[in-house]
Symmetry: D2
Subunit: 299 residues, 4 copies
């Protein structure tokens, strides 16, 4: 299949490489062209605009940082909607706002092209290993095209519904739940540490018992060892998703005290100089710090 792929960050690059490996004819675009080179070596064509990557494609994937980036690559003369043929399909994998997803669904409909939201759970290593969990939403006719492709990219594809923005809501809810796991592990490790119980041993005990889901294992190990660099998913991206969740919930009239607590943690870290090069699990530093257990005051 002829595929356009826009956005070659650590997630996008891994996914695009898998599409190439699966035999597709992939045309990539990235704002900073340097990142396209390793994909070219793997067999991709490199386009000079998003619209060019979309031209003659059956499907265009996007995996970009935020709402603004999605607007930038989709709209305008050189954008995806301009380049994609009538009846073509845009699969948006980015974590964007519910609002933006609704806006894009409407704009694509008007332009006569398909739009599927397919945000993912999983970090770059999971993307590379085709182990992503993918949430897909869109019209049936578009899902019929999208789902077989998505199944090549992850270990499961959940069908959320017909409205693309609902997949984005599920993704935001999932990231909200992950952020609470991070805070929980921070508080749990603080108690253990103060009680003379090795936090890493605590994490092993609990994840060998009923807390055996991947997030407890992955984040538990990072938090117990207070090792937040390099970032698998960076603090600013985590903060962005927390903001999007709070905004979506506010629009729906739903208070989220847990998300509010995590919001304050992000602000505290920023004020204390914990940088954008940290993984978002550094949120746990606040609970550790409040218990007098933070190892590195200088970070």
């Amino acid at each position: 299949m002829r595929i356009g792929f826009i956005g070659l960050g650590s997630m996008g690059a891994a996914i695009a490489a898998n599409l190439i490996e699966s035999g597709h004819d992939v045309h990539v675009f990235n704002r900073s062209p340097a990142r396209a080179e390793s994909l070219r070596e793997k067999g991709a064509s490199v386009a000079s605009t998003p619209g060019e990557a979309a031209q003659a494609a059956d499907v265009v994937f996007t995996m970009v940082a935020d709402d603004a980036a999605l607007d930038a690559v989709t709209l305008g003369e050189m954008g995806i909607i301009g380049g994609l043929r009538r009846g073509g399909l845009h699969i948006s994998m980015s974590t964007i706002s519910v609002d933006a997803a609704q806006r894009h669904a409407a704009m694509h409909r008007e332009a006569g092209v398909g739009f599927v939201s397919a945000p993912v759970f999983g970090r770059p290593d999971a993307a590379a290993a085709r182990k992503l969990f993918i949430m897909a939403a869109g019209a049936d006719e578009h899902l019929r095209v999208a789902v077989p492709l998505l199944e090549q990219l992850g270990q499961s594809v959940g069908i959320v519904g017909a409205e693309p923005s609902q997949a984005n809501l599920v993704k935001l809810i999932g990231n909200f739940m992950l952020s609470v796991i991070i805070e929980t592990l921070g508080e749990a490790c603080a108690v253990a540490g103060k009680a003379g119980l090795d936090p890493m041993h605590l994490v092993e005990l609990l994840t060998s018992a009923n807390f055996n889901a991947p997030p407890y294992k992955i984040y538990g190990s990072l938090i117990a060892s207070q090792r937040f660099q390099p970032a698998g998913f960076s603090l600013p991206l985590g903060q962005k998703d927390n903001r999007l969740m709070l905004a979506a919930a506010e629009a729906l009239g739903v208070p989220l005290p847990l998300a509010g607590l995590v919001r304050d943690r992000f602000l505290t870290l920023r004020s204390q100089g914990v940088g954008a090069d940290h993984d978002w699990s550094a949120v746990a530093l606040c609970a550790l710090s409040d218990a007098g257990l933070r190892k590195d005051r200088n970070i």
Copy 2:
């Protein structure tokens, strides 16, 4: 092996039955004797005091409601310590305070009998199916006796350390983490419900992805359907454990904002008349109620 078993609530009765089934000579005691009858039918001897159940036993198990109940069956003339032979072993499976565990460890040591803390994760159906996750702590010589027995009762036995109270701390931390999962699912289902996404579908999507640990499945289903009766683990027991966690953390100087939030939820439910016959996952009702989504105002 000759085994005493004290405390035949829904958890204790299931565990004692498994010990009988495994071929042990089990002598049971329960404060209200009616509950001992079904065990007698399965082959247990019924003692009239905890001390009598302990007499001539190699190991005595206790699975009782709280610190006071453990004191009541352990201390005094008719208590376990009085009845157990020198060198015998007491395996305490109850969820008790860190303080009480330290106190009991010292008292048993003085009396020349062994003490192992072995609290469990899992609800009555898991106990019956030998699927408990067990956390064990105590001196090596006592664990050598306890662990093979415990392995007959659950799917895994985690060795926490040499100090019995550390197993109780891990259990309290685990229940704290479960309570946060409950609150998280309440908030998540509130957002989904308000957005027109069936909360049960949300739970299925997330537990088929990276939130695939048992608590998300069990509690997610209860919360999405707002079905909190009958109680697998009752509201008052959940509130007790929240209190024990906060007390242990306060003694260690660790603030736990998440546990504080859950604490307020328990108080709100009680003031709003949600009764002791509800499962502790009813904590999620608060988030649902604050979003205007509570189905049954009359509960």
Copy 3:
């Protein structure tokens, strides 16, 4: 002095009436012209656009609902900046965002007209009685004109600084502090009520002691009696200011857990159907409700 006055809500109308009474030549404008009639009777001229009210004026006051309303009356052909003579002064009394104040300060400077932010503390009865507390900020040359006028309108004028937006920040901080007083009184009255102590008696005792500031008296009485209608300052306006404070603090990197709690209260009330006709002190209903003490479930 010739004065333009834009925005005749309950606050603006009371202030404009006082300016007329003080002998100024007042030209008023209100979006819905009906509200201008009572001012006309008191001697005001009624303009048909904000720009017309500004024309030939020495000073134009604005007291409008929010950022958007201030933009609407200030910008554009028929706006204040278009109508005001070079060297004229715009005194903005509205509670607007720090951002908007910075933007307006810059735009006025470019247009060669003065801009002073002078938001106020006090409800409509205080405005009528010239008992407002006013916070003023702006360049010295503009404050020299503004302060004597403002002193005619309130019981004190605090000079915040040279940057207009700083007065808006102080106002937002003040409203944040008021919202916390409301929540505090809700929790205090909940405890008293449950203990069999009349909440109104509690409020009298405390405000006769060291809690003798006006907000404790005014809100204490409303909350103890659970009487939230009519609105002196409405729920949606209170929620707006809470949002502005959180946004300003986020931009500065400051977590405000107290404002986060109040934020959730506003959302809960909205979801539970407490309407825009309620005073913002209805925030206290949440604490009362969580204690099972809410008198009127139907509101």
Copy 4:
């Protein structure tokens, strides 16, 4: 009048001195006798036990640190109840738990002696200047004796009701409200500081406007200058009162999220090594610290 006075901390010593100055025959007792010497110089007799101070007295005052200290001076052979004549009156000014007050009211009734709870608002300088705000509760016949005496010691005496413990509840509620003011000022000063507005100027502006109650002035100045030593009311005493409030509210079934937040602040400070020699307004350090504004990391 012949008066016994037990407890000569900074509050008690100031009050006892005022009673002497007002012409009463005062017999003092303090656990560490050194503190009684300056009172002896002012004309007090020094007793060697609480019971001796109570002997032949019409009224005995107590002003001690906590429940345990009140028990210690009241009960037993050498205690107040043992020494006081039938019909004598015990006026308890200490901040104690609601529980303890109920217990003492019952014990005094049984012993045939009167009991009035009369806790106070105000710091040592206010006690010395007879500027305390006093909350009194007890049977009418006892208040008839107590109130005229209390009026000599403060600027106002509020009559709470007939049940002594209600005065203690009002006192705990008041201290709870003060603790929230401290947290509020911490957050407010954090915003101001980050925005380049001198926190001291902010406090002056607000306390010259509608936040003109003493706590805003006193704590505002301490917090804006981050000057928490010496302690007017120490961190551990503030933490004790927070605990008592949470316990009383829990017994009543009332969630207090604001008190829960303050609870966490106390724990954080202790873990970060802020000592008992700090004023409880140091609670504000947490908000300042989370905003990156804490001046002295070493305290």
